[in-house]
Structures are given as C-alpha cells and as structure tokens.
C-alpha cells in the first residue's frame, strides 16, 4: 500500500512545533551547584531528588551539589571571583541581586520559554506571579536574574490550641486586639510570646515600619537621610513593646534565650502561644514538633496612627541563579533544572520542607494554611525581616537591647538611649 508523504505532514508539523519550545530540547552540561542549604536540610534532600530525576531524563547533564548552608553568601563570591567552576547557585533573593550581583547572569531568555514540566507554558507565566514581580522589583537590572524558589514571609506564628484554650476565636487584626489577646493567653496560664536575639528586633522593625513606612526605618538604621532616633515614633514603637513586657506577655527569663531556644521551647513545651518568625519556622522545628500540634499564623497587626496597614508584609524568596561566565548550553541546562525543581518537585518541597509552593496547582502544606490567607491579603511589601535588619553593624546592638526591653529590664526610653549611644 502506498501512503502519500503528505499524510505525515500534520505529524511532522506537531513535531516541529514541539522543538520550538523546550519540549524536545536536549541539554548537555556539567553543572556545579552551590547551595545555601545545609546537606542535612530537607530542602537539600528535595534538590538531590530533583537532580537525580533531571539527570535520568537528561543523560548528558550532570549536577554536582556543594551544600554550604547559610554561609554560602560569604563563601560563594570569593569562590566565583577566584575562578571556581560554579555554574549555578541559590540564595536569599536580596543577596542574589546585591552580594552576588557582579557574577549573576540573566535567566530571562530561559524562563520565558515553556518546558514539558510547565505544560509547555512559559515558566515566567507558570510560576507564582507575586514572586516574578518580586524578582523584578528588587533588582535594579532590567532583567530577571533568578528563578524564585521557596517564598518566605515574616509574621506571627501561633499554637492554635493555646489560642482556643484562651478563648480566642478570631485572630488579632489590630495592635489593641493583639495586646488584649496576649492578656487572655497569659490569664489562661500560658506564655503569650517568645523570641530570641536574631528575631527579637523584628517586632520593633515591623511596628516602626507600620508607623512611619519602610523608607524611614531603612534611613534610621543606615544613618542616611533625615530619620533620627530622636523621632517620637521611635519611642512610640519602643513603648508599645515595653507595654507588652509590662503586661507579662513575655516569659520573665526570655532574655536568656539563645537561638534556637525560643522556637524549640514553643513546640516542645507547648506553653508558649506566639513567635514572630518566618514561614520557615514549621520546617525548622518539624523534627521536634509533637504530632497534633496545630499552627496558626497572622499578619503583624494594624497599629494606631500608622501610614501602612496590615496588608504590608515582610516577604522575599530564595532563588536559583546562574553564573555570568556560563556558556549558553550551561545556562539553558541550569535554568531548565531550576524550573524543574520549582514545578515538578514543587509539591515535594512543600511536603518535605514545609515550603510555600510556587506552582499554580501545588497544595500548600497544612502547617502554612493560615499563611496562605495572609498572602492573599497582602497589598504591600517590606524587606525580608523588615528594614530594621539592614545594618549588620547595628543589628547585634539592637537585638541585645531588645532582649532587655522584652524582659522588662529596661524602659522604652532606655532602649532608645542604648541604641543611639
């Protein structure tokens, strides 16, 4: 039987169309990936699983990890500049566009194309729009320089059982409600709030950001512009925290907490109701969290006389980026893998690492159910952990003074004096 060649035309057309996307693209590269996760962290486990699957699908690609943990931001720049063979890396998005900026290349051409794992949809349209917007917003370069991964936000995390035991059925939306709820929790026999030095000053940063806006806080800690520690708003924010301490909202010995004592105590002891921390908290303590522990979360409340409302959230994300020294083939493979992790393995990241998913169909981990509500009501952005942490030379001083303030050892005025000395 003779079959006319024209009969193959539709099939041929489908095949040719397929090759214009990444659908049939063959990757060929040896990728050395330096990660900001520690080798024993759940995120690293997911990355390893994803790499194994990606390499099985792309036999000409090899991915070798170096898991440096959080020290990556200190190790990576010197290593890249010294000529180490590193094709891709991950890190806090803020670090990627600043600390890593000199050697971070664009990923735009490769995220604007479709992949089998995005249903052939361009990745930039497939992933969470807020994270793509963030990648554009925080970078002065006129391009996207990282594939967003593991969005993060700082908000109040709580033990739902304690809220219920204290008769609190609606989460606080204003500062007055927050203070009142602290009282109810204390009266029910629990410790309302815990903290430890690295997170202690964020409550002050959030309150002040609400009161005066983020630019004021950034100027204040960096000593730029007109923002001054003599501004009455600074004392007002400190007084709000002083009131919490005076009302017994913090444990009397909270000043002796050294990270991670506060967060471990919260889940192991189940006697502490709240902790202002990041969305990474349920993952960090999951090994010691008892079965049945139920997380709740809510935005930092509205404060009286504020310029920003509770819709302003301190958030950011991690990201996967590529080295400017890469070849085209390395970039194509590296970005393909980055999109692969954040689509095909997005669910595993959410399950194992309790991470906020970026894929449109991925279910949020149950621990972060209330976090999703906060995200849905977000109208504005603060820097991750608020602008109060922007000056590394000031942050340790602020943290130490704040631990004394929350323990009731110094007054708000003494706190401000201690900072501006």
């Amino acid at each position: 039987m003779h079959i006319p060649t024209t009969a193959f035309a539709p099939c041929l057309a489908v095949l040719l169309l397929g090759t214009t996307s990444a659908l049939a693209q063959a990757y060929e590269a040896d990728l050395n990936y330096w990660s900001s996760y520690g080798a024993s962290e759940t995120q690293a486990e997911v990355l390893r699983h994803a790499a194994a699957a990606f390499m099985a699908e792309n036999p000409d690609v090899s991915i070798t990890f170096t898991f440096n943990g959080r020290d990556n931001y200190q190790l990576l720049p010197a290593a890249v500049e010294a000529g180490r063979n590193i094709q891709m890396f991950d890190g806090n998005s803020q670090q990627i566009v600043s600390t890593f900026s000199a050697f971070t290349g664009t990923v735009q051409p490769w995220i604007d194309q479709g992949y089998p794992w995005t249903g052939d949809e361009p990745y930039s349209e497939y992933t969470m729009p807020a994270m793509m917007a963030l990648a554009k917003q925080i970078d002065t370069a006129d391009t996207i320089r990282f594939v967003p991964m593991n969005p993060q936000a700082v908000m109040w995390f709580g033990n739902r059982a304690i809220f219920e035991a204290a008769g609190i059925n609606t989460l606080p939306a204003t500062w007055d409600e927050f203070v009142a709820d602290c009282g109810k929790i204390r009266d029910a026999g629990y410790t309302p709030i815990t903290t430890d030095p690295p997170y202690s000053a964020i409550i002050f940063g959030y309150y002040l950001s609400r009161l005066k806006g983020e630019a004021f806080v950034a100027d204040l800690v960096q000593g730029n512009g007109a923002a001054s520690w003599d501004d009455p708003a600074v004392l007002e924010a400190a007084r709000a925290i002083e009131t919490l301490a005076a009302n017994g909202c913090y444990a009397a010995d909270v000043d002796a907490n050294v990270w991670p004592a506060g967060q471990q105590d919260m889940v192991i002891g189940e006697q502490t109701a709240m902790y202002l921390n990041g969305t990474w908290l349920p993952n960090e303590v999951q090994a010691s969290t008892p079965e049945g522990f139920s997380w709740t979360a809510f935005a930092f409340p509205d404060v009286p006389g504020a310029v920003d409302d509770a819709g302003h959230l301190a958030y950011g994300s991690y990201g996967i980026a590529v080295n400017t020294a890469n070849s085209e083939a390395e970039n194509a493979a590296a970005v393909a893998f980055a999109t692969y992790v954040n689509s095909k393995f997005d669910g595993e990241m959410a399950d194992l690492a309790k991470a906020i998913p970026v894929g449109p169909e991925t279910a949020w981990p149950k621990e972060l159910a209330d976090v999703k509500t906060v995200f849905e009501h977000t109208t504005g952005k603060y820097r991750p952990q608020t602008a109060i942490t922007m000056n590394g030379d000031l942050t340790p001083i602020l943290n130490g003074a704040m631990m004394k303030l929350v323990a009731g050892q110094i007054t708000a005025a003494q706190f401000v004096d201690e900072i501006r000395r």
Partner: protein, 296 residues
C-alpha cells in the same frame, strides 16, 4: 667564607619564598586594600578606589567595632590571668606526685581535641541553658538559690559566660606547657630549700616562678596571639556583647546576613589594626622577657 654564605641563602631560599608568598604578600595586599574602597575580596585592582585613611575613620566610628575592641581587651586581661593562673596551678598540682595525674592531665587536655565550634555549642546548649543546663541543674540541688538564679546567656552576662567557656577550652594546652616546664626544674633545688626550712609557698615563689619565667613569657605571647584570633566562641555565642575584632573583621570582609552592603577596605583596615596590636604585644612580651632565661 663567601661560598658558605651563598649556601646559606640557597638553603634558606625555599623558606623565604614561602614566607614571601603566604605571609608577606597577603600582608602587603591587605595593607594596600585598607586604603581603598573595594567591592569584594577578589575584585581586581581596577575596581579599587583610593580613599586614603577613610576606612580607618569609618572603622573607629562603628560602635560595634569599638565594643569588640573593649571585649578583646577584657578577654586578654581577665581570661589571660585566669587561664595562665589556673594552668600553672593545675600543672603544679599534677606534678606534685598526686595519684592518677595522667588521667587528670588527659581530662584537662580533652577540650583541645574537640572542635572549638562544637565546644561552644556544648557550653551554650548543655551547660548554660536556662531550662535544663548543667549549671541550672547543679544550682537547683544547692540549698541556696544564687547559682540557679543566674541567667548565663542573658545579654549582660553572656560575655562572662563566653569567657569562662573560653578559659576552660584553652586550659589543657597551657597546663601541658607548664607541666613540661615544671618537670625540668631540678628536684635538688627544692630539697635544698626544704632543708633550709622553706615552706611550699616560699619554694614556689623563690624557685618555681623564676625558673619558669621564660616559659611563662612564651605562654603569655601564645595566649595573646590566641586572644587576637578569638573567633569561634563569639560566633557561637552571638550578639554585640560577645563581638570580637576578628569576628567583626570576618563580617566586614564577607558580609553579614541581611546587610548586603559591604566594603572590604574596612575589613582590611581592621586586619591592619589587629596586626599592629599583635606587633605591640610581641614587643611588650620581648621586653618583659628581656632578662628571662630558659634554664633547661
């Protein structure tokens, strides 16, 4: 004679090349860096911007750096007295013929074989922990509440807690050095002093101390250099109250977590200051040891 001299230079050449490569070159580069604004440690010289003494002015205007200088001065003085004093005391006890001296020496030296970072966490999490730490537990067994009431990791006490931990971590090394020195003091001198009626304290002051003065000055110098390099314990204990110049320098050069601004020049200036402090301490030590002799 000329041939001998050239052979000498030939034999010394490998060492000189190594010293120039790993000591002289980095020191000179750091000194030059300290007068420039530099975006990163490995940035090419074309990206360096000469700023004169501005980095030094900026360095001393940073309160955290001034705090770190004060901290290291206290560590050098107080922890120095404590470490060297205790090491001498322990070495004297261990060389006095007590039973199980080998076992005690091993126990005292044990912290030396543990990573300093791990040691720091052991102290922080298991000794000082306010809920279930060893000191808390001991305090609760006592009939008075004083010890149990101490919050070892609170902002006002954590510096001294770190210093105590650091002292115990360093004790084994210096005790061993003193044991070695004390064992070389001839027993006949003590016997003669005994016959003359000298008591233990008199023998210690008039025989032991003068005869180990050379070793003591060496120990002081080693301790001083170790103080300047105080890094791991402050890294673990964290915070402004435990900041030291070495940790400050590290953060200034490699960046602090959420502070994405950085000028390596300031870190280089801090390194140069530390180098100058080390040189001053070395000269001071040589001066103190000017008449000391190593008798053995």
């Amino acid at each position: 004679m000329k041939r001998k001299s050239s052979i000498g230079w030939f034999l010394m050449a490998p060492a000189l090349v190594l010293i120039a490569a790993v000591l002289l070159y980095p020191s000179l580069r750091t000194l030059i860096l300290s007068f420039h604004e530099v975006p990163s440690l490995t940035a090419p010289a074309s990206e360096w911007h000469f700023v004169g003494f501005e980095n030094y002015a900026a360095l001393f205007s940073i309160r955290l750096y001034r705090i770190s200088l004060l901290n290291i001065a206290v560590i050098w003085a107080l922890s120095g007295i404590l470490t060297i004093g205790l090491a001498l005391l322990l070495a004297s006890a261990l060389t006095s013929g007590i039973r199980f001296s080998q076992l005690f020496t091993t126990i005292i030296y044990l912290p030396e074989v543990i990573s300093t970072l791990a040691l720091g966490y052991i102290w922080l999490l298991f000794v000082y922990n306010p809920r279930f730490g060893l000191l808390q537990w001991i305090g609760k067994q006592l009939p008075f509440t004083g010890l149990a009431a101490i919050r070892w990791t609170a902002p006002d006490t954590i510096f001294f807690s770190m210093m105590i931990a650091g002292t115990f971590a360093a004790l084994g090394y210096f005790t061993l050095m003193y044991i070695s020195a004390l064992k070389k003091v001839p027993a006949s001198l003590y016997e003669a002093a005994k016959i003359e009626g000298a008591n233990s304290l008199q023998r210690f002051v008039t025989i032991t101390l003068p005869l180990i003065r050379g070793e003591t000055t060496s120990i002081m110098l080693i301790f001083s250099m170790a103080s300047i390099n105080y890094f791991a314990f402050p890294l673990v204990f964290g915070g402004a109250n435990t900041m030291t110049p070495m940790l400050f320098t590290y953060n200034a050069i490699f960046g602090a977590d959420l502070d994405t601004t950085g000028n390596v020049g300031v870190g280089a200036a801090s390194t140069v200051v530390l180098l100058m402090v080390a040189v001053v301490l070395f000269i001071l030590n040589k001066w103190l040891a000017r008449n000391a002799k190593h008798y053995f």
